[in-house]
Each structure stands twice: as C-alpha cells, then as structure tokens.
Amino acid sequence: MKLVRMFGLSIRDAARSLIRNLNLSFASISCITITLTVVAVSMIASYNVDNFTKLIKQDVTMVVFLDKDITQEEINDVETQIRLIVNVDSYEFQSKEEAKQLMQESSEVLNKIMTEWDEKENPLQDAFLIKVLDIENIKITADEISKLDNVSVVKYGEGMIEQLLVVFNIIEKIMIGLILGLVIVTFFLITNTIKITIFSRKREIDIMRLVGASNITIKMPYIIEGLFLGFLGSIIPIIITIYGYYSLFEQFGGIFFSPFIQLVKPEPFIFQISLILIGMGMFIGMWGSASAVRKHLKI
C-alpha cells in the first residue's frame, strides 16, 4: 500500500515538476523531438535502401542450360539433383519451345526470324530457371550445378552480381553505421540536456536526501519525468513519420523515380518505426534522468 502511494506521489511530483520547470522541460522535449526526427528519417531511408537491395537480390535468376539432345528421362534426373541442392530456393523448367515463344513475344525482329524455324531447327536449349536462397553463395551453387551430367552451361550474370553484392554490402554497412552513430549521438544529446535540467535542481535533490528520502524515492519522480519527456518528445517525430511517409508513398505511387526502386508499404512499417521512436524516447529519457540524479546522490 505504501509502495503504491509512493509511486502515485512520484507520478504527481513528476507531472508537477514538468510544469513548474516548464522552460527546462521544453528544452529537453525540443532536443528529443529534433534528434528523434533525424533518427526517424534515417531509419526510413535505410529501411528502404535495405528493401531495395533485398528485391534486387530476389530478382537474380540462374539459368541452367541443358545439353541439346537431352531426353525427358535425363531432364528428370537433372531436376532431381537440382532439388537436392540446399541453396536452391525454387526452380522452374523452361523448354526450348517456351524460350522461343518468349523471345518472339519480346521483339518483332526476333519474331520474324523465329517464325521460320520449325521444331527441329530451333537452336535454343531447354533450361532450368533457378532462384537461390543465399545470393552470396550463388557462385558455389552455379559451379555445383555445372558439374551435373547433361548440363551444358550455367549463367547468372557472373561478374556483375559479385560487384553488386560488394556495393550492397558497403551500403548496408554505411547504413548500420549511420543509424548506430545517430542513436549514440541522440543518446548523448538527450541525456546531457536532461542532465543540465536536473543539475539546476540539485538543491531539490540535496534537500530530499537531507530529510531522509531513500535513493529510490528520490530517483523515481525524475525517472518518471524522464519517461514523460521522452514520450512528449517523440510525438512530433511520430506524426512526421506517419503523415510524411504516407504522403511520400502516395506522391510517388509506391516507387521512387524508377520502377526498380520500390518503397516499403506504409503499413505496418511506419507503426514499427513509431514504436521504436517512442520506445527510444522513453528509454533514453528515463536513463538520462536516472544517471543525472545518481550523480547528485552523494550528500
């Protein structure tokens, strides 16, 4: 009962000091708002870049061309062996007739030339179109498949894919570094602003100690106040995230300049970002307050 009462008093004191120290509260809230907005924008950007690289990776197809005079039985054998390879996500058989038809559909010139070919003249090859699970290991998988009987050649855009992977890895690392750096800067900025505001109330903390308040009793209102500050400071970044991203998505119709670059769908993405922002704000607010008060609990 006593604990509940003390907790209730802590909430009252936190709200009261938030209002009594309005200028300082406003400074802390502004700092949290600005830094969290920057974090929100960079999180949205990096998530979209990450999504874009994932889509590109998913789009990579390995084409396994089979020998020219392959029989149905031999095709089945190759299929069985492809199915057993761990890195194969999905595959699809494409006969040389289907390949011819696709090529005819893609270009009128090809269509004219190919129409004259009869079934025996078709120089194209039957093939398996394969999607891999881990694109980083595509070369190993391609080598493994090319050693199978009746496989003539394996193509997956070698050379270009490796380069793309290097670029994507660099982008990913930069993004992670950027977000981490921003989170750390945010953390220090917010905790230091709160420390300054609490320093101005050192006298209050000293008096609490002198009248016999236990450390936890002293800390509790400040921790709750930090939580309030974090919560209030994250409201504007959340509004910017939700409305900003919705209007960006609608403005560009879900794609960013080129159909290759698709934006992440707003739901549930923006709500996840909002949750992260509010969680970050409240946690850093609490942490900042607690560590600031701890420094003054020495008298």
Binding site: R203, I207, M208, L210, V211, G212, S214, N215, T217, K298
Partner: protein
Amino acid sequence: MELIRINNVTKIYKNGVCAIQDLDLKIKKGDFVFLIGSSGSGKSTLIKMLYREEKPTRGEIIVGGINVAKLVNRKVYKLRRKLGIVFQDVKLLPKATVYENVAFALEVLGETKQEIRKKVFHALELVNLKNKAKYYPDQLSGGEQQRVSIARAIVNDPKLLICDEPTGNLDPKTSMEIMNVLCDINNLGTTIIMATHDKEIVDRLQKRVIVLDSGRLVKDYEKGTYDNEAS
C-alpha cells in the same frame, strides 16, 4: 542515557587538511548543546559527520544506535529519518509553499495524506506559522523562513535536531525568536546540537557548551557562556 557517542574521531580531508583530531564526546538524550569555536575550528565538519555528509577518517560515531562511519551511501536515509537538520541557508524549495516544504519530509517517508496534514499543522503551530501555510518562501522574512526549516526538521518527531548556525543570517531579535522555538522543542524532549558564533544567545541560554579549536575539543562546560571560550 546517551544519544551520541564519538570515540577517537579524526577527519582528514582529501587535500590533507585535518579538520577534527582525536575527538571524544558523549551527548545525552534531551541535552541542548552549543558547539562553538572560531572559523576553521571543525564545527561544521563535526556537524556534517553527525548526519553523514562526511565520514570520519578514523574512529567511531554512534548516533541513536547507528554507526555513522560504517553507513553506506544508500542506507544514509535510515540515519536521516532519525534526525532533523536546520541550516543557516534554510534550504527550502522555492517553488513549493510552506505547507509543501514541511510535508515534503513526510511524503518521502510514504505517510498518508491525513497523517501528513495533521503532523505538518502541528509542526507549523510549534513554530507559529500555521497562518502562513499557503505562502511561498520568498513571501516570508528570513526568520520565518528559518522557522519553516525548523518545522520541516521536527515534523517527523526526530530524537535529535542538528542546527548549523541557524541564526547566522538573522538579526538579534529574530535570532532570539528562533532560539525560543528551539528551546520549546528541546523542552519536549528533543536533543539539540547547535553550531553557532552568536555570543548573546550562548550567554543568555546557559546550556552545555563545547569549544573546538583546530579540530580538537578544548573545553566542555555543563552550563557555559561564550566568554568561557576566551578564558
């Protein structure tokens, strides 16, 4: 029965200054003790050690059964709840009313609203400030502010009241008013230790006087005056 026992206490600060040297002292329950001495004699250090703002370098200080020297930082509140402290600079919360300032000492102990109300008004009555409960500190005179700080110090009925030059900033008339309040509190059974430079007060009250000089106890009179220090 003794409330405070100080055995062979020495305090040396980090900068090498020896503020208290081999001090032995006993103070009984219900005593009113003046602690006098020139600036730098160790009065404030001794007072600070009694409420554990400072720790002795050597020796033992027992206050109300608690060994202050061995008290870890997070347990200090256990000692402070047994005593009241009054400072020269009053240390009131400027943005809280008189009532809130006094109630503050009880709220941190988790007492109920009704208990707090009863005890705060009782304490304010003892210091004659019941009619100013809704005032803010800056609306009060220096003497009234000091009386609020006394009310806050006695509101949880401590066994010991430690006063560090409570009349230091006040004129003689107001100082005597404060002393009358402290004497009333002492008459109710609270032990009082008061560091002071105020000759008139010490002379007039004729209480126990402890004289410190360069960190050493040089005189201890049962019913002394400030003049004894010089003799």
